[in-house]
């Protein structure tokens, strides 16, 4: 058992499963000798050979399309998109094919595949490297969109993603790739997809987040506690399909909800969560549903990215506004 980072956990999960399941193949740009630009696939080629850990030509539509073909043959491709900002050339394959193959063939062809991509801001990356566009894929029925917030979850959820019989978009919040370490036993135990984690119990307000923003959210809960406000904290983890029941249960208890996300506010995953609460638990609400978000503007280049991203104090502020709402 070793203390490892989120990205090492992703790597460990892949190595674990590749050992057991010969159908798993890893491919993408620079995933081979180089081990991925963030080293997510570090050592995998050395261990499993260039046949199973494949450097591809530079073409994302190709990566997704080829993964679909392989998966339809029963292989289990793990395709890496180098940064989520470069997933769009593959959008047609993901939306028009990945999400639909099982349904349109009535279960004859299925696509047990994973598309991994680092995402989100905060690491001073160049343009197009820092966006949070999970909402786009979360809107597509037939996909699962999973976002781990810490090393243990990365390990368990990645295992589940690889074992899932359907396509999973696995988004890795790169800002927290190396922010903390967890002791992880490489025992192959997965965390179920499609399930929220309640990370902290509380009674006054429910804070709902996922991915990197979980860190700010948990810190905010801590600060709120110091001010006598008891926040329940939920890590959504699978942003689609949403485990809305866990969220509703919490909100029914606390009567207040605040969603924290890095993406621009309009039409984001947070809107979906808020809408579900507004439809199904409004009678339990004692205050407006808050959303602490990125702004509805382009993710700025890195000199301004701190100005763009939600901070602990913004969450605290909004949570207090909601709790104090009369």
């Amino acid at each position: 058992m070793a203390a490892i980072t989120l990205i090492e956990a992703v790597n460990l999960a892949m190595a674990h499963e590749m050992e057991k399941d010969k159908d798993i193949v890893v491919f993408g740009e620079d995933v081979g000798v180089n081990g991925g630009v963030f080293r997510a696939t570090d050592g995998l080629q050395a261990k499993f050979g260039a046949e199973r850990v494949i450097d591809t030509p530079l073409a994302e539509a190709m990566i997704a399309g080829v993964a679909i073909g392989m998966a339809a043959q029963g292989m289990k491709p793990i395709a890496e998109i180098q940064f989520m900002g470069f997933i769009f050339p593959a959008a047609d394959h993901i939306i028009s094919h990945c999400a639909r193959m099982r349904n349109r063939t009535r279960g004859r062809l299925t696509l047990p595949m994973v598309i991994r991509a680092p995402y989100g801001g905060g690491i001073h990356a160049p343009e197009n490297h820092s966006e949070s566009t999970e909402a786009i894929f979360a809107h597509i029925p037939g996909l699962k969109v999973v976002i781990p917030s810490n090393p243990s979850r990365a390990y368990g959820l990645m295992l589940a993603a690889m074992r899932d019989p359907d396509p999973v978009i696995f988004l890795e919040p790169k800002r927290v790739y190396r922010i903390e370490k967890h002791e992880i036993e490489d025992n192959g135990e997965e965390y179920p997809l499609g399930m929220c984690f309640v990370d902290r119990e509380g009674t006054d307000i429910t804070l709902i987040s996922w991915g990197a923003m979980m860190h700010e959210t948990k810190q905010a809960a801590e600060k709120l506690a110091q001010e006598g406000i008891s926040a329940e904290v939920i890590d959504v983890a699978t942003v689609s399909p949403l485990d809305i029941d866990t969220i509703l249960e919490s909100v029914q208890k606390t009567g207040r909800a605040c969603i924290v996300q890095e993406a621009p506010k309009a039409g984001a995953v947070g809107s979906d969560i808020a809408a579900e609460i507004a439809e199904k638990a409004i009678m339990h609400l004692l205050a407006p549903i808050g959303r602490v978000s990125g702004y509805d503007t382009m993710m700025p280049y890195y000199r301004l990215e701190k100005q763009y991203m939600p901070k602990v104090e913004h969450i605290v502020e909004e949570a207090k506004r909601i709790v104090e709402y009369r």
Partner: protein, 359 residues
């Protein structure tokens, strides 16, 4: 300047428009009359299927349907070159190859009739074949992926995929050729050059002299054939398949034909097709020429033609009946194949759909 690379595109035709064997070095298929009759019958079947589908559409019993009139030699020819264990990744006007590789005609009708069960191919041969890809050119990449899986598993199987000449303008087509080249994949790319992409003629689709030469951009082999000449299509397909099966990598086969029908039932080609094109086209179409060749070789008679047509009409009618007799699927079928297991969140919607459907 020094020349550092040279390429050429070759063209193959055996049977001319009059069904005469033009080419001295005709392949074995030219004398395999049983096979040729089978191929002729395949074309007749597809033409009848298209005719019926059109009629169904015109009477409100079918959705938009893309006939392959005049291009039957392409799909039938390469479809016949496939082995059972090979995989077909068709394009949307792909009924000819699909039926040749075991897809039932009623499945083709169900698909265009708006029923997902049309892509749940029941025949074992077609069980791994891809459903039609409506988004043009995406299938080329899926074909590469299927071929990659076969290659990794050391199987001696080949993938065939078809695309329209218009579809070759999509980046996906090129990306597929490129990856097939670099990985030396067992895949055959058939370009169905019917000279039209809906209303867009080749002159405004590309500046290329041939579509075959697009293979050069990926460093892979190519050939152009007369797509109305069954012998040329079949033989080129067989050769390419053989090569791929033995580790020789991918091939692009451009088959030149002409769309002798509207783009689909939703189209009116008279808006854009130049006068006389159809008349000229019908003189070169693939069925008559193969029939003439068979007749010239005393292998076909009017009686055989009549008998075959009667058989085909009955066969297609049976498929039409099966199609028409398939009741609309249940509302819950919208949900039951979305994931292996329907998410909690969607269960209530499934119930709602059932309740609403019952009204």
């Amino acid at each position: 300047m020094t020349t550092i690379a040279k390429f050429e595109v070759k063209y193959q035709q055996y049977l001319d428009a009059d069904g005469k064997l033009k080419n001295k070095k005709a392949p074995a298929i030219a004398k395999d009359f049983d096979k040729l009759k089978e191929l002729y019958r395949g074309m007749a079947l597809i033409r009848q299927l298209d005719t019926k589908a059109y009629a169904l559409q015109r009477t409100g019993k079918m959705g938009t349907y893309p006939a392959a009139t005049g291009q039957e030699a392409i799909g039938v020819g390469f479809g016949a070159a496939m082995k059972d264990e090979d995989v077909l990744v068709p394009y949307y006007r792909g009924q000819a190859s699909m039926v040749m590789h075991g897809v039932r005609m009623e499945e083709v009708l169900l698909y265009w009739g708006g029923d997902e069960r049309g892509s749940d191919f029941q025949n074992e041969k077609a069980r791994q074949d891809f459903p039609i890809a409506v988004p043009i050119a995406t299938q080329s990449l899926h074909a590469a992926g299927v071929a990659k899986a076969m290659q990794m598993r050391g199987e001696k199987r080949v993938v065939f995929t078809e695309i329209g000449e218009g579809g070759t303008s999509q980046g996906d087509f090129y990306e597929a050729l490129n990856v097939a080249g670099i990985w030396n994949l067992p895949v055959v790319f058939i370009i169905n050059n019917n000279q039209w992409a809906i209303s867009v003629p080749s002159e405004i689709q590309t500046a290329c002299e041939t579509y075959a030469q697009k293979a050069i951009a990926a460093g892979i082999d190519c050939v152009q054939v007369d797509g109305n000449d069954m012998l040329a299509v079949y033989q080129a397909s067989l050769d390419a398949a053989e090569k791929a099966r033995n580790g020789g990598g991918p091939t692009v086969i451009e088959c030149i034909s002409l769309r002798l029908c509207d783009h689909t039932t939703a189209d009116d080609a008279s808006r854009y097709r130049p006068d006389g094109e159809l008349e000229e086209g019908w003189k070169k179409e693939p069925m008559v020429r193969l029939r003439k060749y068979l007749e010239a070789n005393k292998q076909w008679s009017q009686e055989e033609e009549d008998a075959m047509q009667a058989e085909i009409v009955a066969e297609v009618q049976q498929s039409v009946d099966n199609y028409l007799n398939t009741p609309v699927d249940t509302p819950e079928s919208m949900f039951d194949y979305l994931y292996a297991e329907l998410p909690e969140r969607t269960l209530a919607q499934r119930e709602l759909a059932i309740a609403r459907g019952a009204k």
